[in-house]
Subunit: 389 residues, 2 copies
């Protein structure tokens, strides 16, 4: 048995989607309420000792210093509450802070979560704010934005490995199929290959349906010291591996456009820590901010050989019935991508799957899961591994 | 002997001030360079295992996801780097994340720090961005800003405890006197009571010289597991108490305007953890974003009885020669307040004092120090206690 770093004893998600008329604080309260309803013997103001919450962008609501506010709206009282920001991996990093807070012995029970309220602003404003996750000096001010950055990676991957637009489109089709089975997903609608391939170009070769959604949503979960987890649930899930790695913020300074080195480094470390190989993973939530990102993640996480990502999706290996189901929740593509909430939302899906509560998208007998959360164009990658035992 | 949570083996500060033509990344590189020059046997890309860095506001440079960037500019390689944001207590919270990372056993050597680049923008823009640390719904959009929030506290304190404008002005005079002895301080200039009292009203009773400075700066330090500290320095300083507490973000929802409950809760916990009483503290860096904030901090930290803060400064108890020297560095008032850098900068001052390297402002025989870092109007407070042994 591998070492248990922390136990997950409860999880909660707000409905993801266009949540008109709500503030981030209200979305976070919705997620945390579900977290407490889902748990046994846990009361907000009595049991939770600290909160680590991810949010990418204070500009959306002109609101910094949001951690005490989220703590307040979740009813947590005067506990230490900390906001973590690493772009789209904000709550992946917050989750790791929570794990370390437990491991440190400083706290026995902590809440981790994330939130982003995005849809009240125009697409143009969203593109501008999200671009802050790339480098100002060399990327933003020269007109780069995220579809353009990932388009560069896609073109390089097509050139070097023969990946096709059709293979990328298959990622979108699969994730929409999964999302249609997830009542919390933003877009519960299946789409066809033709829909994707004929959708409006955003930054060639990426088209509208290759891009994840601008979504409002919040996620949270409660972590405890492993030895006390059974007090709160019969069915804890343990974090057995956790690693993060970083790389140059600028795409142009990286060694290779066709892989994300931070993912490779973090996953190698997480696998080693958990004592498991890629073949031992029963399901994974990976960071599909664009379809090409999922294909690159297959390779960097070791689910297939370098350059074979396109063939992996083509051979249906990552569907619900495949050898290694990926993004059973619908992923960022169909469940939605409220950037700050994504990392912990991925962990929630693995928790639901490993505790047999994933409804129509349940993977039978899932025992070991993995989450992969990227910040920006890959300057941050967080990989966690979870186990029932 | 109290428990050692982590050891400080090195510290570095950029010059604080108006640093025209530099980006935050360059300021952070300046601070980190000093950190490595100050240490023995520490190499950036080999020894540092993680970075936690505080920054309040991505709007200043239109730059989020700054942690990998700071890591890169400090030469730290592919290590996990995390940005923490809790308004003006951002690096206070980052420091605590670093302490817990050490305590968790996940890392043996980490860097913590903070940075803010502010002076390239107008005062108006600064006031607007800093206001994000207060509540959008009930404070910002009704025209509140930080001088106004602290003015409300000042008026309440004057009304309830008889605190005077002159006593507040004495805080400014003392801190400028200390700052004049600190070569890293933004404003190395003594001022008189008359200067303060006749300065332009900002939000009555607070005048220009009651307010801390808009400053560019960066801070960092290297923490290790206590048992290996002597590998890197002959003179480590240990963190023996660390606590954070939070309160309502809105001032109007708090129980009392004349004290900051989060400070009271955090300091009680930190004292207990360190096994020390307020009378055992040899020097303290407290959060003097406005002069009234230092007076309230005296009381909340237990340096005097509730309501006696004004008399404490009047009796010269907190000067360099006093019973409990406060803000020997010059504080936020004179050293400057690059908001994200402040929490770790306070810890740097205590480190310099406890290792006898505080130059002309050295407190003889200082053995135990305290830092007190506030976020916003007091929704976050971080209190740490440090000891030579």
């Amino acid at each position: 048995m591998s070492k248990r770093l922390a136990a997950i004893v409860s999880a909660g998600l707000s409905k993801f989607g266009k949540r008109d008329g709500l503030y981030a604080r209200e979305l976070f309260a919705e997620a945390s309420r579900e977290c407490f309803e889902d748990s046994r013997n846990l009361r907000p103001s009595r049991d939770i000792e600290a909160l680590y919450v991810g949010q990418m962008c204070e500009s959306y609501e002109h609101q910094a210093h949001m951690a005490p506010l989220m703590s307040d709206w979740a009813g947590l009282g005067h506990i230490p509450a900390v906001r973590v920001e690493n772009a789209c991996s904000s709550s992946g990093c917050a989750l790791r802070c929570g794990i370390m807070a437990i491991m440190s012995g400083m706290h026995d029970v902590v809440m981790v979560g994330g939130v982003e309220k995005m849809t009240h602003l125009s697409t143009q404003k969203n593109v501008e704010y999200l671009a802050m996750a790339s480098d100002f000096q060399f990327e933003q001010r020269n007109g780069m934005n995220f579809p353009a950055l990932y388009a560069l990676m896609a073109v390089a991957h097509m050139h070097k490995h023969g990946t096709t637009e059709k293979q990328m489109a298959m990622v979108a089709v699969k994730n929409h199929k999964n999302g249609a089975l997830n009542p919390k997903a933003h877009m519960q609608k299946e789409i066809t290959l033709e829909n994707v391939l004929s959708s409006k170009p955003v930054a060639w070769p990426l088209k509208l349906y290759d891009c994840s959604l601008i979504t409002d949503g919040a996620s949270c979960m409660i972590l405890t010291k492993p030895s006390i987890a059974k007090k709160f649930t019969d069915d804890p899930v343990y974090v057995t591996g956790s690693a993060q790695a970083n790389d140059k913020l600028n795409l142009f300074e990286r060694d290779d456009l066709t892989s994300i080195k931070a993912t490779q480094l973090a996953s190698r470390k997480a696998y080693k820590m958990a004592g498991v190989r890629p073949s031992g993973i029963d399901l994974a939530e990976v960071h599909d901010c664009f379809t090409i990102a999922e294909i690159i993640a297959y390779e960097d996480l070791g689910f297939c050989k370098k350059g074979d990502g396109g063939r992996l999706i083509e051979q249906d290996e990552t569907s619900l019935q495949g050898r290694i189901p990926v993004n059973t929740s619908g992923g960022l593509k169909s469940k939605g991508h409220p950037v700050g909430a994504t990392g912990v939302a991925q962990a929630c899906e693995v928790y639901y799957q490993l505790t047999g509560r994933a409804g129509k998208r349940q993977i039978p007998d899932a025992k070991v899961g993995l989450t992969h959360n990227i910040g920006g164009s890959g300057a941050t990658a967080v990989v966690n591994i979870y186990s029932k035992r």
